[in-house]
């Protein structure tokens, strides 16, 4: 057992995970390893289109104990994960490592497949009921949580090889070209699936929209796709469009968003050519709206809008407030349509978006980002993975990546969620280290990380931005919540939280 640089105890070897490299700082782990892109024999004359998922499983050579991957562009409307696992169960394929880019409530049937032995291990976010179950320690091996950038890094470095990637495709042709831009299950960008398509040993595409002619434009080319299966439906459109794409109307959340926007405005980075990521969710969308007001007020025009793209970002592009959108995930119908029509709206892979070990991740172009948190502590360390009871309920997403890449990173969050304080002396687990966080914004004002003395001075000079110290905030939260009971924990490690470079920033133990 050793302590990493944040003082978190990390075992030298974690059963079911392997040797752990303790987190030692933002960019201290040097790139190493090399994943392989599998070469295939000549495919001339081959019919890639198979009749069923079972046929594809057989053709791909999937066996018990292998690793299968999925993307989450269909979000809570996804049918593909459940269909593939059901087929594996019927075929007696067991002990699989599930390697999704994210899971949602709709994937609750995984619980049955954990019980019946089809799924042995999960590498990826475990939300909702699956998270609660996994937190009790039912899986023999710990979940591995990686960021959107850490995941392609792990694949490309060979740390996390994929045996078979199953790619849901809203639009495909018989040669294996894929796109998310059309069809009844259209989802826009397929950015999270690009690396899987490139590096998996075998790639199976599933579509409910098989076109007879070659599709255009192409997101993932036929060069990576081994087999195709046409199924009645890959997703429910109602669940595909994210439920979190409306600006909040809650006055307190609007207040937080306004403060966050004002902090960006007060920073040295609010100038011509600013690039930013605000994401989806009520507060971030409101920040986007307030940023537009600020840009009008100051006659500033931005450069790049990044990340999960919403209609609000598209509006900024169309009206000339941004020059380009880099889209790893399209959150709503407006974003999808824009991706279809506007060459300045560019689909990017998760590798391009956030991989710390490539020659130029988009997150490194960010001037400012606004993120959420479950908890944040005196050292500004942030937890987004566990709930107040210690259960795993959220993935990392792009949290680590954008925080590390952006010049100014703001956590915008109400101080309390019900009785649960967001500001706390010590977070239950660390997802993102405090050194990447510049300010916390709550309804009580702005709490600037003292390490960023310049921002502190700039905020201090603004009469409309109340400054609150972290100690004051924690005291206030504590006064409102009363004493919180310690989370009871067992010995078993249920999750390993990797920093985006693959070092271990923290672990999560089972709930007591």
């Amino acid at each position: 057992m050793s302590k990493n640089i944040l003082g978190r105890e990390i075992p030298n070897y974690i059963e079911g995970y392997g040797a752990a490299v303790p987190y030692a700082g933002l960019n201290t782990r040097r790139p190493n390893g090399s994943g392989k892109i599998k070469l295939r024999p000549n495919q001339r004359g081959k019919n890639k289109v198979l009749k069923s998922i079972e046929d594809a499983i057989t053709a791909s050579g999937l066996k018990s104990g292998m690793t299968i991957s999925f993307h989450h562009h269909l979000r809570n409307g996804d049918r593909v994960v459940n269909l593939v696992l059901d087929a594996c169960f019927r075929m007696g394929v067991r002990d699989l490592t599930l390697f999704p880019t994210a899971l949602f409530e709709v994937h609750e049937p995984i619980i049955e497949h954990i019980k019946n032995g089809v799924v042995r291990r999960i590498m990826g976010s475990v939300n909702g009921p699956v998270g609660r179950m996994v937190s009790s320690g039912v899986l023999p091996e710990p979940v591995v949580l990686r960021s959107h950038g850490g995941r392609p890094r792990a694949i490309m470095s060979g740390e996390a090889p994929i045996d078979v990637a199953f790619i849901a495709a809203p639009c495909a042709d018989r040669w294996g070209n894929l796109s998310g831009l059309s069809g009844s299950s259209r989802c826009g960008s397929l950015g999270y699936a690009h690396t899987d398509a490139l590096y998996a040993d075998m790639v199976v595409a599933l579509t409910d929209n098989l076109c007879s002619c070659l599709i255009a434009p192409v997101s993932i080319p036929q060069t990576h796709i081994d087999f195709l299966v046409e199924i009645p439906s890959i997703g429910d459109p109602k669940g595909i469009v994210s439920g979190s794409t409306a600006v909040t109307r809650d006055p307190l959340r609007l207040l937080i968003a306004r403060y966050a926007s004002r902090v960006i405005e007060a920073s040295p980075y609010f100038k011509e050519g600013i690039s930013f990521q605000t994401g989806a969710g009520g507060i971030p969308l409101a920040v986007t709206a307030f940023m537009k007001e600020a840009m009008i007020r100051s006659s500033v025009r931005g450069n790049i809008g990044l990340g999960g793209i919403t209609g609000y970002f598209v509006e900024l592009l169309k009206e000339g407030f941004l020059k380009r959108l880099l889209d790893v995930q399209s959150f709503d119908a407006t974003a999808i349509q824009s991706l279809c029509e506007d060459p300045s709206h560019i689909e990017i892979s998760a590798d391009w978006y956030a991989n710390p070990w490539n020659a130029g991740a988009a997150v490194d172009m960010l001037d400012a980002t606004v993120l959420g948190a479950t908890e944040i502590d005196r050292d500004f360390n942030v937890n987004v993975n566990t709930e107040s009871d210690g259960a795993l309920l959220h993935g990392i997403g792009g949290h680590q990546d954008t925080a590390a890449g952006a010049s100014v990173t703001i956590i915008a969050q109400p101080l309390m969620r019900g009785r649960i304080p967001c500001a706390t002396p010590r977070v239950h687990c660390v997802t993102t280290p405090g050194e990447t966080i510049d300010a916390l914004v709550t309804e009580y004002g702005v709490t600037v990380n003292p390490n960023n003395a310049d921002l502190l001075e700039r905020v201090r000079g603004k009469s409309d931005l109340p400054l609150v110290s972290m100690d004051e905030l924690i005291d206030k939260a504590s006064a409102l919540s009363g004493r919180m009971d310690e989370i009871e924990q067992g010995d078993k490690i249920v999750a390993v939280i990797e920093w985006r470079d693959g070092s271990v920033i923290d672990i999560v133990r089972s709930r007591g």
């Binding site: 006055p251 307190l252 609007l254 207040l255 309804e443 009580y444 009469s463 109340p466």
Partner: protein, 296 residues
Amino acid sequence: MRRTMMYLPGNNPNMLLKGYLFRPDGLIFDLEDAVSANQKDAARILVRNVLSSQSFGDCEVSVRINALDTEFWRDDLCAVGAAAAINRRVNGIRMPKAESKESVIALDDTLSELEDKNSLPQGHFKIFCLLESANAVWKAYDIATASRRVTGLTPGGEDLAADLRTTRSREESELDWIRKMILVAGRAAGVDVLDAAYPLIHDLEGLKKQTEGIRQLGFDGKSVLHPSQIQVIHDVFTPSATDIEKSLRIVRAAAEATKNGQGAVAVDGRLVDVPVIKRAMYLLTLAGLDAEEAVL
């Protein structure tokens, strides 16, 4: 400053606890219209406890009690008195349906008793009168001068329109003369004149237009129903950079003249007299500046 006085429903704990975070100039804990008759007791207890236990930043804190023709107002005052005994910042009573000089005197007397009972200094409580009928508007000056506690006058909205046998239009042209009458009465009595709230909470353009109108008339501020209205009103009441600069020149010139024993002084070629100086100092206050410090 009383640019914005925000109503907080007495039965909404979230708003009671967090309303001050929106940084209005004042808060009005509402026990009257926002609370149904069967919720009066619960709201009164909640308001008392919140007022006793919480702080509210720099906000002026007042309570709208129920009207003096109801069975609730004495209990409301008891609760406010108990809270003020613990939290001295609680010192405003918003009096609905202030109809006459006599009704204000009756409230004044009860407040004096309340102050004694709660060991508060005489005169601790101020009264803000809501004029909600033609009769009340007609007697505005008498009402404003009925007690030294009276600090502000505010026209009613819906009730007043009904009493005038009209309805409240979007432009509120039916209240034009009412506002002017109350403004004159309030200024003559030496109290603040605060406008009624703009009821269309999503129409921020309409709010801006109305606020510009009442500011030009001479009003000191406006009631607020929703946090989104605060910034709009503050923006209207915030002087321009040019006005601030001119006001600074006036107060500095006046201070210099006083120091040199001069009776009058000219700024930008115009003679500056006492009202102009007072106006300049008020404008600096609106800009968040301390006139005395500005002179230094």
